[in-house]
């Protein structure tokens, strides 16, 4: 099967990484990967550590600059500058529409929970404070943390921090959400509450790319799964074709490691 065989290429594609290559020195982490996110689609990225899945998702919002290839957002090529220049879309513009949640939360420790969530809308989107707070409180209620609005991040558990981080990303009203191993730093008993929030986002039709080691969860929420191995997409398909009934030998061995 060709790597791009069932790649949807139509105007419903929101975010498209074309032939993405990334090298760190002599190390080729991504060797020419194509990934396209269609509106409302949830794509799961799985693979062994070092396979390039985090690097790939970080290239999609230019957190890493690809060594070659290009990112296309709603048909516009992303340039190398923060602002739009010529026909190239600026990195800043891209990030206003493509949110990201990190493994280590990265909440702003000097700001309260509410301020963490309103910072982007007020500073970047120039929304009024009252409007931003109203929206933020709504989002905090959705992730079950309305009562923590005036707490500082240091007073929260890992699961709570990550839910705030999701609310912070959602406050920008993103078209796409990129989730980079968002449960990997959590204690096992806190994973569920974060997955629950993501599950609801998927149900509501949020377009997402999810790097995860939670195989069962990926199989449950993803419409499509990409198995990365050695900097390439080794297998691509539905959860049934990939996680539940892997035909590829390496993928089967990889998935098997999570089933006991």
């Amino acid at each position: 099967m060709s790597r791009t065989a069932n790649m949807p290429v139509d105007d419903k594609v929101i975010l498209h990484g074309r032939d993405i290559r990334k090298s760190f020195g002599a190390l080729d982490v991504l060797k020419g990967v194509d990934v396209a996110l269609t509106r409302g689609e949830v794509v799961g990225l799985i693979g062994p550590s070092g396979s390039g899945k985090s690097t790939l998702i970080r290239c999609l919002n230019m957190m890493e600059t690809p060594s070659a290839g290009e990112i296309v957002f709603k048909g516009r090529r992303i340039g190398r500058k923060f602002r739009d220049s010529g026909d190239a879309c600026g990195i800043g513009t891209l990030r206003r529409h493509v949110g990201m949640v990190f493994q280590h939360f990265n909440l702003f420790p000097h700001k309260t929970v509410l301020q963490n969530v309103t910072e982007g809308p007020i500073i970047v989107l120039k929304m009024s404070k009252a409007q931003a707070e109203e929206h933020a409180l709504d989002l905090l209620a959705q992730v079950g943390l309305a009562d923590k609005r005036d707490s500082y991040p240091s007073q929260l558990s890992g699961g709570q921090k990550q839910r705030v981080a999701i609310a912070r990303a959602l406050a920008m009203k993103p078209d796409v959400l990129l989730l980079d191993e968002v449960t990997s730093a959590l204690d096992p008993e806190l994973v569920g509450e974060v997955l629950q929030v993501i599950r609801r986002l998927a149900d509501e039709g949020m377009t997402m790319a999810i790097v995860t080691h939670e195989m069962a969860f990926a199989a449950e929420v993803a419409d499509r799964v990409l198995f990365l191995d050695g900097g390439n997409i080794a297998v691509e398909g539905t959860p049934d074709e990939t996680i539940r009934n892997p035909s590829n030998e390496r993928l089967a061995a990889f998935v098997a490691r999570f089933n006991h």
């Binding site: 957190m63 923060f82 990190f102 702003f108 982007g120 500082y152 981080a165 920008m172």
Partner: protein
């Protein structure tokens, strides 16, 4: 033998002490203001990622961190004028050396503070679409300043004490005035004790305030 303390003879020289203390404060505050400006520029140069600029900034820092302030004062007052062929007023030489000296240390404090902020903070700011400038001013600096504060205050306290060295190029600061009073009264014990007490009188309240500020800023941690 018992020494008969006599502070009364110093009273008539009180205005000299006060004038000296005033100059000490002026040189401290002035050199801190210039030093912060120099420190910010040098720190920005070092973090600019532009190799030549970074090298020049580094070169300046090492020169001024690796020579004693006393040597810098002497050099700027006696040697530098010969180099440029223009004589330099001792007040100018004093302010110049003090500012360049403390600026080199401030730059390192600023740089250390900024670099101590985890990469994730910059990434989180970038991820919500902040520009590098917004990220620096709203996310990085507020956290970095908090971490820099103890070292910054410490360096500034040292700076206040360091100003006493300008007396060697005849700037009439507190240390210089104490020496003048001593030469008039032949009362070194009293003269120099009063000088020491005046340094303490200014710095002790300041260090207390600094501790209090530091404790207060820790609230969100």
């Amino acid at each position: 033998m018992m020494y008969a303390w006599d502070f009364n003879v110093l009273w008539q020289y009180w205005d000299l002490f006060m004038y000296g203390l005033w100059l000490t404060v002026v040189y401290t505050v002035g050199s801190i203001v210039f030093g912060v400006a120099i420190g910010l520029v040098v720190c920005a140069a070092r973090l600019s990622g532009w190799k030549i600029l970074s090298f020049i900034a580094r070169f300046y820092q090492e020169i001024f961190r690796c020579t004693p302030l006393l040597v810098q004062l002497l050099w700027f007052y006696y040697a530098f004028p010969m180099l440029v062929g223009v004589s330099i007023d001792n007040h100018v030489a004093a302010m110049l050396s003090l500012s360049l000296y403390v600026g080199a240390f401030y730059a390192e404090i600023f740089r250390g503070g900024i670099l101590s902020i985890e990469r994730g903070q910059r990434e989180a700011a970038a991820a919500i679409g902040m520009s590098p400038w917004q990220s620096m001013t709203r996310i990085i600096m507020p956290q970095a300043v908090k971490r820099m504060l103890p070292a910054f205050i410490n360096q500034s306290v040292i700076q206040f004490k360091n100003t006493s060295l300008v007396s060697v190029i005849s700037v009439a600061d507190l240390a210089y005035m104490a020496a003048v009073v001593n030469s008039q009264t032949y009362r070194p014990l009293e003269s120099y004790t009063v000088m020491a007490l005046l340094y303490i009188a200014v710095l002790f309240p300041l260090t207390q305030v600094a501790d209090w500020i530091e404790r207060r800023m820790r609230v969100s941690d």
